[in-house]
């Protein structure tokens, strides 16, 4: 399997590490958020859509340029539809996660 790193081009999957679903966003965590924030974090950390089909997911090109990537990939065919850089890869200046 090869993954097209937006910086390095197509590379053997052995250079990459998989993290998981890129859809969940880390919730804001006010210090006094109480159990409501726990609920949000529980959802963020533990619950997954785990779809059979196209997903957005995090890959890390740790065996290469050390960029975090967001790939659109099918879990049924393993085909990559797109691979883009995480908002903060390189010297990119983003106000917050998700901006690009």
């Amino acid at each position: 399997m090869r993954i097209a790193c937006p910086f390095c081009g197509a590379r053997d999957s052995g250079e990459f590490t998989y993290l998981g679903d890129a859809s969940p966003k880390r919730p804001d965590a006010p210090i006094d958020g109480g159990t409501a924030v726990e609920d949000q974090f529980y959802d963020y950390v533990y619950l997954r859509d785990n779809v059979a089909g196209l997903t957005r997911e995090y890959w890390y090109h740790g065996g290469g340029c050390r960029s975090w990537l967001i790939a659109e990939r099918s879990t049924t065919t393993h085909e990559f539809k797109s691979v883009t850089a995480a908002p903060g890869a390189g010297a990119a200046k983003a106000k917050q996660a998700g901006e690009r």
Binding site: D12, I31, V45, W68, H78, G88, Q96
Partner: protein
């Protein structure tokens, strides 16, 4: 060659002329101890055929005598143990093993000999040994399964014996890249490679055989008006002249994986007795291809009738291969049993070799075209095969006029052709049924793959050349090649007609899967019992699960099942095709990475120095670390370690700690970044100061700890544990790039840049005074606890010095660029010599951290919280950090959690062992009384007893309580006292001295 039946001396069945063999290169070989001779260009199978050998093996279950069925990788019967000693290879197909001088082969799965195989008594019990019989019996008494039944079954099963000792040969792996991968070097593949290569595409052409040509080597023909073999020669010459084409013979493409990756096995040196020096036996190729053309041909299928497994019943195409390519005669009076036109072409081959055609049996009668004058043709079927262990002597034919017996010493059969479509199905694409050729054809090939020629159901030579050319041209264009592909080669489109005949339904054992002894009646039994899904059929009868993966049997088996169920073959479908297409040696899949090269080895900057001093090394992840430094006269590791600990506690010692992960954290927001990563605050840390930090995973569990220093306003230097250096770096980059891209922070691993040594003990300052430049103030005020700065060393060197302690002693860590690591070790020895300086290893390091109650890997086990480790108070209440929220969950803050405590045996002479569980004194050990366990132990020279750390429920409140350490694995139970984890200098006076 016409009429030349004279044979070669000593090779009873070798034609006097013809064939692609080198008669000037005779090769000696032996089979079951019998010496024989063949020629260069032979396979083991063709050499056996040429020597008149017909019995070559025994079947899996019934131990029936078996001969050579095919001439290719689909062979189910002719499996041998090839080579001897450590190089013995079980289950090696004689049909694909190239002959070399001195080859030694043994038949397998027989005792005491192939001819007289004791286990052939199984045939007597065969009425009971039907499909799945073992699921219905061997159940009583229960204990007899492991004791009696199973060992007997295991001994009887299996096929060949492996060497049982390490494989002495080398393997490696390599990558290759191309625009167009062409699989198969027959007519189709050559045409595809030519058209793609001419267009300018980077082409790799792979063929399993030692020479290109595929079936053209066996069947000949006329292409572009010349003899087919001549055409092959010129095609190969043209391909070789193209710099963008790479030809890989003896290379089998065995699998297609994601995004156009293919696996292929090159048999680099299987055709010689053993690999030359510096060369590998086999090489695994990972081929990355933009497009692929698969011209893998087709496989002829047997017909199922009683006696179809007798030696010298052979596929018709194999008969042609042996006669034409190898000038070897499978028989001297050959009968044919065919149901399709292609099978009839065997008649010509036999006639040209000057051998008698006993008869041709075809349920359709004589075909419409072709000159078969003088040939005895019987419209009918073969109902039985007579003979002995040495094979066919007669066949019984059932025709319109009843049964008749015909003398023959070989029966060539053809039930039609199955396109070799496995590669197209490895991504779980299902093939489609085509009635006109009575076969499955590819339908859903993986993206980028084009099936062509016979593999796609185009069985005529003309069609192979046309479709191969077109597929190659298309693939090249899709891959971006701009050149012209030229014209396709031309050959005739011989007619192909077939009348499906799967099974001659008469009484007698008729085999579907030869190797696994699956008969037609087994298939029907499975159907009666409800195992009618093809996958159930396969699993219940083991059809297609032998070493040939059912290449000659799967389609036939499911056709018989379809018939039994009353479904069409198309509706019945196939089982899932699974790679590898042909079996691959495990050694080749491992390549270089075996034995000591299994994983890379990391060496510390002082490694060679430590080795010179006789250090004993321990594997810590990939690192080799000095575990202790034995001195002459020391006989026991504990003696050495105790000496090292006492030397530190009473004087000074040093230890290479370069393996700790080190990260340069820089940027305007580096402090904020660390505040969010660690549970405690770092933005307020002063420049020139170090602080212990603890980081959590987002689920609130401790991830790692370490000391992080502030070297400049925008420069922190983080250390991680040795084990977690990689995962922490990945985590930090995730935080930087994904979670908080708004922060200006840059990360760089500096682990390998620095040689870092811990120097510890009350004489540390004395040692350092000797080492550092006199201008450096090393007093407690001038260099306080947790201070950090760069110092000048004597002799013209600079070092980073950190006043941190893991041992509880007055200690520093000193870091210099890695190239000076060895010099640093030597200079520490020199500087510390007056103070009895002692190098110490990881074991002494561990002893001292346990004495001091510092947690490490065994406590940071991925399930403990900061609170569990007694570090809950470190967590800032003013800021958010990774893991904060979920660390507050009820079960992670429950009062009965297992927390870190000190543990010391009440009997001071008793050895404490890690892994012992803790139960209340007086309680019966059981799930309800199991309260924790011992995580780390050491013999403490300062306390003069074994002691340890543990995780124990309510542990913090139970200091002073006597409990039991329960260690049933080592038959030990003894009293221990729970106590504070800090055994040594609990006030921390020494490290601040």
């Amino acid at each position: 060659m016409e009429g030349s039946t004279r044979t070669v001396a000593g090779q009873s069945h070798r034609l006097g002329a013809g064939g692609q063999i080198d008669r000037n290169a005779p090769l000696n070989f032996s089979f079951d101890g019998k010496e024989m001779t063949g020629f260069a260009g032979d396979t083991l199978a063709s050499a056996l055929v040429a020597n008149g050998v017909r019995l070559v093996g025994r079947s899996f279950k019934y131990h029936r005598p078996r001969g050579i069925l095919t001439a290719g990788p689909e062979e189910p019967n002719a499996l041998v143990e090839l080579r001897t000693g450590a190089r013995r290879e079980a289950n090696t197909r004689a049909t694909t093993s190239e002959l070399y001088d001195g080859l030694v082969a043994q038949s397998q799965n027989r005792w005491p000999s192939l001819r007289h195989d004791f286990m052939s008594v199984n045939q007597l019990a065969s009425p009971i040994f039907v499909a799945g019989f073992y699921y219905k019996t061997f159940m009583w008494p229960a204990k007899f399964w492991e004791a009696l039944y199973e060992p007997a079954i295991r001994r009887a099963a299996g096929l060949g014996k492996t060497a049982g000792i390490a494989d002495p040969d080398h393997y490696d792996k390599a990558w290759a890249h191309c625009d167009v991968l062409v699989v198969g070097g027959g007519a189709t593949g050559l045409a595809a490679a030519l058209s793609a290569g001419r267009a300018g595409a980077r082409v790799i052409l792979c063929d399993d055989d030692s020479r290109l040509g595929g079936r053209l080597q066996s069947d000949g023909g006329v292409i572009d008006g010349v003899d087919a073999l001549q055409w092959v020669q010129s095609a190969v010459a043209e391909l070789s002249s193209l710099p963008n084409v790479r030809i890989m013979t003896r290379t089998a493409v065995f699998g297609v994986y994601d995004s156009g990756d293919f696996g292929a096995l090159e048999r680099v040196n299987d055709h010689v007795p053993q690999p030359p020096e510096h060369q590998v036996r086999q090489r695994l190729w990972r081929i990355a291809a933009k497009r692929s053309v698969v011209g893998a041909g087709a496989i002829e299928r047997p017909i199922v009738f009683p006696g179809n497994d007798r030696p010298a019943v052979m596929m018709a195409s194999a008969v042609r291969t042996y006669v034409n390519r190898f000038a070897a005669l499978p028989g001297k009076r050959i009968a044919l049993f065919v149901n399709n036109d292609d099978g009839w072409s065997t008649v010509d081959a036999i006639r040209r070799a000057g051998v008698e055609v006993a008869a041709v049996i075809d349920p359709r009668g004589k075909p419409a075209t072709g000159d078969y004058s003088g040939i005895r043709v019987i419209q009918g079927v073969v109902a039985d095969v007579g003979g002995s262990v040495d094979g066919v002597s007669s066949i019984t034919v059932a025709g319109a006029g009843g049964n008749q017996k015909i003398d023959a010493d070989c029966l060539a059969m053809s039930g039609g052709w199955n396109p070799n479509l496995a590669l197209s199905c490895f991504h779980r694409g299902k093939p489609e049924w085509r009635d006109d050729i009575a076969a499955f054809v590819p339908a859903n090939a993986p993206a980028g793959m084009t099936m062509a020629g016979a593999a796609n159901g185009d069985l005529s030579l003309g069609a192979c050349l046309r479709t191969g050319h077109a597929a190659g041209a298309m693939a090249a264009a899709e891959a971006g090649a701009k050149g012209k592909s030229g014209n396709a080669a031309k050959a005739s489109d011989e007619a192909f007609s077939i009348k499906p005949l799967w099974h001659v339904q008469v009484k007698g054992k008729a085999f579907v899967d030869f190797q696994h002894d699956v008969t037609a009646s087994d298939v029907k039994l499975a159907q009666r019992e409800g195992y009618e899904s093809v996958e159930h059929l396969k699993r219940y009868t083991t059809l297609g699960m032998a070493t040939d993966q059912g290449k000659t049997s799967n389609v036939t088996g499911l056709a018989i099942m379809a018939d039994a169920v009353g479904r069409s073959i198309a509706d019945t479908g196939t089982t899932v095709y699974r790679p590898p297409y042909a079996p691959v040696a495990i050694g080749a899949l491992a390549g270089h990475n075996r034995d000591e090269n299994f994983h890379a080895t990391r060496l510390t900057p002082s490694h060679h120095w430590a080795a010179e001093r006789g250090a004993v090394f321990v594997d810590t992840g990939l690192w080799k670390r000095a575990q202790w430094f034995p001195l002459p006269g020391e006989t026991d590791w504990l003696q050495s370690v105790t000496r090292e600990v006492l030397a530190v506690r009473n004087g000074v010692g040093f230890c290479d700690v370069s393996t700790l992960g080190k990260v340069d954290v820089r940027g305007a927001d580096a402090g904020t970044f660390l505040d969010r990563v660690y549970i405690n605050a770092f933005s307020a840390l002063g420049v020139g100061k170090a602080r212990y930090g603890l980081m959590l995973r987002e689920d609130g569990i401790v991830m790692d700890d370490g000391t992080t220093s502030r070297l400049a306003e925008d420069h922190y230097f983080m250390t991680t544990t040795t084990a977690k250096a990689g995962p922490v770096m990945q985590h930090l980059e995730f935080c930087r790039q994904v979670l908080w891209p708004e922060l200006d922070v840059q990360l760089s691993s500096a682990t390998d840049q620095w040689a870092q040594f811990s120097i510890a003990g009350p004489r540390t300052r004395d040692l350092l005074q000797a080492l550092v430049d006199p201008s450096e103030d090393m007093s407690n005020e001038g260099f306080p606890f947790m201070g950090v700065r760069t110092v000048k060393l004597r002799g013209g060197m600079e070092a980073r010095l950190f006043r941190i302690s893991f041992s509880g002693e007055m200690a520093f860590e000193i870091a210099v660029p890695a190239r000076y690591g060895e010099a640093m070790a030597r200079n520490l020895m020199i500087a510390g010599e007056p103070f009895g300086v002692t190098p110490y290893g990881t074991e002494a390091l561990g002893v001292m951290r346990i004495e001091k109650g510092h947690v490490a890997g065994p406590e940071l086990n991925g399930t403990t919280t900061a609170g569990d480790l007694g570090l809950g108070k470190m967590a800032s209440k003013k800021k958010d950090f990774i893991g904060r929220v979920l660390s507050q969950r009820e079960a992670l803050t429950a009062p009965d959690r297992q927390v870190v405590v000190g543990i010391r045996p009440v009997d001071k002479t008793r050895r404490l062992r890690s892994g012992a569980h803790i139960v209340p004194k007086g309680a019966v050990p059981g799930p309800e009384t199991d309260q924790g366990y011992v995580t780390s132990v050491c013999f403490s020279p300062t306390q003069n007893q074994w002691l340890g750390l543990g995780l124990v429920s309510h542990g913090a409140e139970r200091h002073g309580e006597i409990v039991k350490a329960h260690d049933p694995l080592r038959n030990e139970t003894y009293d221990v006292e729970l106590c504070s984890p800090v055994f040594y200098d609990p006030e921390g006076v020494r490290q601040r001295a």
